[in-house]
Symmetry: C2
Subunit: 216 residues, 2 copies
DNA sequence: CCTACCGATCGGTAGG
DNA sequence: CCTACCGATCGGTAGG
């Protein structure tokens, strides 16, 4: 989430106090603008797709000129990477701490599902960008990301459950794992803020459905 | 699946017999080229995304010049529409005939799932384009498509099951329906031709998993 | 009128 | 952050 261009950030270089209200040349601290830019990118990429979003779109969104974006980034891809990297690492950290914790495998799987659902819903735009546009990252950058971790964490939990005898073992753990992941990740396609179902109860239900669907 | 430009197709106008092997100016009947173009578009759109695919890419793929594509289409979007329209209508026809058939709701739901999985796997590229790039269709064209039919068919079956008492009715049918759809549709993201699991057994397993996951 | 393209250029946008 | 631009490539169309 750090600004890749701001190698040496000098904090708060005496923000101009001159115009308290909006002026045409209003100055915003660099960090604030950077966060604003990332939020705008998440929103617009999620809506239109990365490839269909021009830097002009983003510049308009935050009220600067297109060329000025290069004060914050080196390329359009920087924005995609920052979003995708941030959302992935956050999600993995969540799941890893649960999956490696105590308790039987099925209980940990339930916790992983509810936690993942809440995280996904709380970060709908970023998740959408991750699930839709990661292919537009360069191979080099994509290789720095632990993209398969989600799949591995879930599949491993299912294998533990099979070893414990709580999960049916007549089916490949990977098939089950991808089914679970699909059910959960699909949420980004239909859930909208303000939906009658809360993220918490949605997660609880899907966890329940999975457990009764795969138990031995 | 018809060629929008070929208003009056004259069948097989004495295809040149001169060069039986490949010649530089090899002639292919119009319909054949059109199908070849659609197949190439499905393949390349699925791999690179609609927006990242140039008409030059497609022309290269089938071995003609970019400008020559306009003999077959009026715009790039024609190709997207044709693919998305074809795969959607085929899939809906499948499911509708099953959903409206006889038997109890849960049995029909199982059949819908297995049929849909096989159809999806048999048409992986087209399904990928449909699930990823439909947003790039113009509003006018998108509105001609029955995009919500899948969701409605599955949700309605679940409601019938709830009415019959075979499906748990303490949960919104839509939540269950989207869960089922997500699990099944997610297949396009990980299944590859040659995978050890056959489409048939994959469908059977997912149907099983759903039924035991949601039964009353 | 057709099939199967070519060479050149259109309005517009890309990243830099 | 702005002004003033570039090289290239985009989808699409011209006449032959």
């Amino acid at each position: 989430m750090s600004n890749p261009r701001a190698k040496h950030i000098v904090r708060d270089e005496a923000r101009s106090e001159a115009s308290p209200a909006k002026s045409k040349t209003e100055k915003k601290p660099r960090d604030e603008r950077w966060r604003e830019l990332l939020k705008a990118a998440a929103r617009v990429f999620a809506k239109k797709g990365y490839k269909s979003t021009s830097l002009q779109d983003l510049a308009d969104e935050i009220g600067i000129l297109k060329g000025s974006l290069y004060y914050y980034i080196d390329s359009k891809e920087d924005l995609l990477y920052e979003l995708v990297h941030g959302i992935l690492d956050g999600g993995i950290a969540n799941l890893r701490s649960i999956a490696l914790g105590g308790g039987d495998a099925l209980t940990r799987l339930e916790a992983v599902i509810t936690t993942h659902v809440e995280y996904l819903v709380d970060n709908l735009a970023e998740t959408t960008v991750f699930l839709h546009d990661i292919k537009h990252l360069s191979k080099e950058r994509r290789e720095t990301l632990a993209i398969d971790e989600y799949e591995q964490i879930i599949t491993r939990l299912i294998e533990e459950g099979q070893a414990e005898g709580t999960v049916r073992d007549d089916i490949d753990s990977r098939l089950i794992g991808m089914g679970v992941l699909g059910m959960v990740n699909w949420i980004y396609r239909w859930y909208r803020p303000g939906d009658t179902v809360t993220p918490r109860s949605l997660g609880t239900f899907y966890a329940e459905m999975v457990v009764s669907g795969i138990h031995a």
